[in-house]
């Protein structure tokens, strides 16, 4: 590519066209045809769109007390090794054990970033590093996170972690480093390849099937069908965040 071509490709969109090839570019440029309408499911060479909204279903009746396969799968997938300092070590997903204060009934469930439609972390972030992708996945752009931790103050689920020390041996697909905030990415690198998040896969491999990943907007999809039949409890529903992670009962 010549230098002039490079300098022309300044805007994201134009860059996209040069990559997607002449035919698609022509189509997209044709009057009345919008890019979003051309987008198809989980393809990693086109921008994600709001045609999908990725979410999780947690069937707490199938979640086994004492099982933490989802947690170790997450730690393995993203290289969250920990420094044996529980107060500052990162946890993207954790098992919470609940006991009903009245009946004494016990519950065990996984808790992670709820990928809100109205995420408080995104609202408060001064630089826009906390953002919500078009397909609903809430992420931190670690290139522009300044490490102010205001998002951690705002998150109702205590779902985020600040990296308190220098790290080494990071995974190529999951960059993480000192001084910035991070949280569950819904395994965005897997989602973009059309795969399911590591926690869901591990839960399924263990035969528990307490976690179901899917597209909330796909009316024929498994997730939508489950939510048709079940209530689908939102955590902190009082805040009206419209979370993408729904629980069978809490």
């Amino acid at each position: 590519m010549s230098e002039s071509e490079y300098s022309k490709s300044g805007s994201l969109r134009r860059r996209f066209f040069t990559q997607a090839g002449g035919g698609v570019a022509l189509l997209a440029l044709a009057p009345g045809v919008r890019l979003a309408e051309l987008a198809i499911a989980a393809s990693d060479d086109e921008p994600v769109s709001d045609k999908h909204r990725w979410g999780l279903w947690v069937d707490t009746s199938r979640c086994v007390d004492g099982c933490d396969k989802c947690v170790s799968a997450c730690n393995e997938e993203h290289g969250l090794s920990g420094m044996d300092r529980p107060e500052t070590d990162a946890q993207w997903i954790r098992k919470v054990d609940l006991q009903d204060e009245v009946t004494g009934r016990e519950l065990s469930l996984p808790l992670m970033c709820q990928h809100c439609e109205e995420p408080p972390c995104v609202d408060v972030c001064p630089t826009g590093a906390s953002f919500r992708r078009e397909d609903g996945i809430v992420l931190v752009d670690k290139h522009i996170c300044i490490g102010c931790r205001y998002c951690m103050m705002a998150c109702p689920f205590h779902a985020r972690a600040f990296i308190h020390e220098e790290l080494s041996g990071q995974k190529t697909h999951s960059p993480r480093g000192k001084g910035v905030v991070e949280s569950c990415t819904l395994c965005v690198h897997r989602v973009d390849e059309g795969r399911t998040p590591a926690c869901v896969e591990a839960c399924s491999n263990a035969g528990n099937d307490a976690l179901v990943f899917g597209d909330l907007k796909d009316e024929e999809g498994r997730l939508a069908l489950i939510l048709d039949e079940n209530e689908g409890v939102e955590l902190r529903s009082d805040l009206e965040l419209n979370t993408a992670v729904r629980y069978s009962e809490v």
Partner: protein, 136 residues
Amino acid sequence: MRRTAGKRLARGWIAGLLLGAATLCIPGVLFSDVAKPQIPSARGEQCVEPVEIMRRDHFDFMKHDRDTTVHEGVRSIKHSLAGCIDCHASRDTGGQFISINAEGQFCQTCHTYAAVKIDCFTCHAAVPATKVSQSP
């Protein structure tokens, strides 16, 4: 009285500027024979861009494509850091990959020469990804 003071002031400024300019030239004269960096050879046929363009603009390329990937989920990008590492990371005698930002390695050797700090590898892996078992 006032005018002479002004003249003296002006002369002072000019002398200062000349002296400053001369000082700026010192490193060029003294260190002009600093050895060019010895860049380790890469695998593969051809870089994604001509070498001359990559030398000057690689960060713009990577910064641009990183935003496309992080915010828009486009992963089939031409200029990815992982792509650089795949071709340019060297192995040690034991066959293990050496961090690309280690002294003398591809990224670091040039950045040492140019005295520019690399911020990528605080977060990003500095060796090629090892294929882990992938489920269907």
